[in-house]
Symmetry: C2
Subunit: 421 residues, 2 copies
């Protein structure tokens, strides 16, 4: 059992529902959990505790990245400047057929996990193939992961026969359920335009039976409905809802091309949404109605998407981009406060993934997924409001310490010794 | 005289008109100038040269930030989430009246210069008050600067009597002309809505007589024309052009609310434009027609604007944001290539400031304003195209070395010893 950790002298952003801030605060971690937090002096420091001085730093929940394709860092910067369909079908899918195998997945998933940790993300929700290697890489790196085994209706890496795509995902979930508290297996249907209605229904039923998160890309581009023959005149959200796909254990990724009626469906069903602003901008897919989803109270988190369409996994940059994008898109600089944006990247993401009882805020009893951000750097001073500093000034490289379930993974900006690649 | 510097083993992005790239290249600096560049082995290394190994790094021109208000880092994060007019008139101007004096200007301008250098910018074009202190701070930090003394038709820091605003700027230019090759004095009229037509004409005439750059904010918000009684039914660009303000030694800052006819005027007159995409997004001012200005061949550079409306001075982040913004705004992921975006931040900016014979590209005989960017960091590998890596992956914190006129200002990511504050 690891020694307790005692963090002191920090500006603690709890990110609880009231987003309370504790100045000159301390936080005690025992057995991987947050045992106590409050102003300096409000709790005893165990004599054997490891002490971290957070003077000048923000102490906050680790960021939650609601949408990644970890192994795709291998394709970072490949075939840039292209629209989604050309990029995906003419470049990424062929590159995957050639270069993706268990070894490359293990290598680049691990690479991405390290990139995530170094930039302050402690939990990601991933969808890809060769799920065993992705989950194993995350476990090796010590990051928390919802690991989705991909389903698509044509031959895919590790799933040469698409008839076996659902069965392969089910087997993956069985192998990983209960194996580690850090790994939550999941089922990831690529999209309604690459999976038939029958596949979607079977995959969702399997996820429901197994009690795991069902992830799916949806309503990403304006042309998407035209690529789904079964859609008829319905919106993508209406189509998926009619299939019974959308419920409180579904994560809808993108939701760019949705209207108020779609938002009402998502809200009614209790599904979560992953907003991937940078990816949607880079692929010129469009601008998701994020303020509308926030107003509706949909569980909403941020995702970087894969490194091939971003091109990094830095959620600090994502927060900045998302805030600025929706300000200019809505002609309203007050459309979302910095505090709301930080909430999206922490507790909001945890809610979207159904993990908010475990992570997403600094709350007594939650798992100790915690980061420290150095606000003393030249580009961050002075600090009038720490939320504003984090959203509009900070970068992943300003993160000094990262812990997952109370284990320190990044210290002074460097990965702690692990079984490095 | 400083010893020569010999950089070797780098990927050299010349950013010359053809944007040629030299793999495994070397570059020799003597007397603050680029003496030679080419593949490794194509030139002799002087025996007394200081050697920099650029293996795994990009070697490129220092970035040119075409619009800053250096002392405003003091107000970074003050009064966020507000539209431009409320933010400016109700928060920033009052804060300036209270907190801006020669001492605070010197301190925060120096702070910003260090922030700029650390993030790879070697030249900035600034507009503020207390020009002596701004120029002095830049000289102390060793950054190249076009330093504009501000003109506005009401009492301003250091210029209590607005009747003396033009005379004050003229005196500033006289004091700094020829004093240092790094400091180019300039005249900065705040805007057509804070300066009368008479002031604008007098200031432009003075700048013309003195042979210095004339800078002005213009067409930043949709409401701007309604705040300029003299504008009549004209666009801001038409109004300024009718006053004779727009010529090849004028830098128009923002140009968000311009149409094709305005673009034609700017092109015809040969003026430069500073595009401040992040600031325009953050203040919800609008989206400038950057692709149209690029197509017209207007000398166009990027500016971060002041830290109060960004909130940092990192041009790498600006490049990423600008690229993604215009992709989604134009629904076209190919609207500008990464190479074009890097050009905006280097040679384009130098052209907009009228400095492209001196800086902006790695060309024999130009001043040695050079940066090295480490592409070996986890969030930047693999590299398929270095321009894409710089625009969509890199951050200012990936810059390892910065030199201005052949003097090393940043080494291994840290400022070299100077007279620190």
């Amino acid at each position: 059992m690891a020694d307790p950790i005692f963090i002191r002298n920090g500006t603690i952003l709890t990110m609880e529902a009231d987003s309370s801030v504790i100045e000159n605060g301390s936080l005690l971690i025992e057995n991987g959990e947050i045992r106590a937090l409050g102003p300096n002096g409000s709790m005893a420091m165990p004599s054997r505790a490891r002490v971290i001085d957070a003077a000048g730093c923000v102490v906050m929940p680790g960021l939650v990245n609601c949408h990644t394709h970890l192994p795709m860092s291998l394709f970072r910067g490949l075939a840039d400047d292209l629209p989604l369909d050309v990029w995906l079908f003419e470049h990424i899918f062929p590159a995957e057929a050639k270069e993706i195998n268990p070894g490359s997945v293990q290598k680049w998933a691990r690479h991405s996990c390290e990139e995530l940790l170094l930039s302050g993300t402690t939990c990601c929700c991933d969808g890809y193939f060769h799920g065993d290697e992705v989950a194993g890489a995350a476990l090796g790196a010590g990051i928390r992961i919802v690991a989705g085994q991909g389903i698509i209706d044509f031959p895919a890496p590790g799933v040469p026969d698409p008839k076996k795509n659902v069965a392969t995902a089910v087997e993956f979930v069985h192998r990983w359920r209960g194996r580690s508290p850090l790994v939550m297996p999941s089922i990831f249907c690529h999209s309604p335009y690459t999976c038939s209605g029958a596949t979607l229904v079977a995959a969702k039923q399997a996820a429901r039976d197994l009690g795991v998160l069902f992830q799916i890309h949806g309503a990403e581009t304006g042309a998407e409905t035209s690529k789904i023959p079964e859609c008829g005149g319905r919106s993508v959200v209406e189509y998926l809802d009619d299939l019974g796909i959308i419920d409180e254990t579904t994560l809808l990724v993108h939701c760019v091309w949705i209207d108020d009626s779609d938002i009402a469906i998502i809200k009614k069903r209790g599904a979560g949404v992953a907003h991937c602003g940078e990816s949607n901008m880079k692929l010129a897919s469009g601008i998701a109605p994020v303020p509308g989803m926030m107003d509706a109270g949909i569980p909403l988190g941020l995702g970087t998407d894969g490194s091939a369409s971003n091109n990094n996994l830095d959620l600090f940059q994502e927060m900045d981009m998302v805030s600025k994008l929706h300000r200019v898109a809505c002609s309203d600089p007050g459309v979302m406060t910095a505090q709301q944006v930080v909430t999206l990247a922490t507790l909001g993401g945890a809610r979207a993934l159904g993990l908010d009882r475990k992570i997403g805020s600094l709350t007594r009893g939650k798992r100790a997924d915690i980061i420290l951000v150095n606000l003393k750097k030249p580009h961050l001073v002075p600090v009038y409001n720490p939320f504003v500093s984090l959203v509009h000034g900070a970068k992943g490289s300003d993160v000094t310490h990262v812990m997952v379930a109370g284990r320190i993974r990044v210290e002074n900006g460097k990965l702690t010794a692990r079984d490095r690649l």
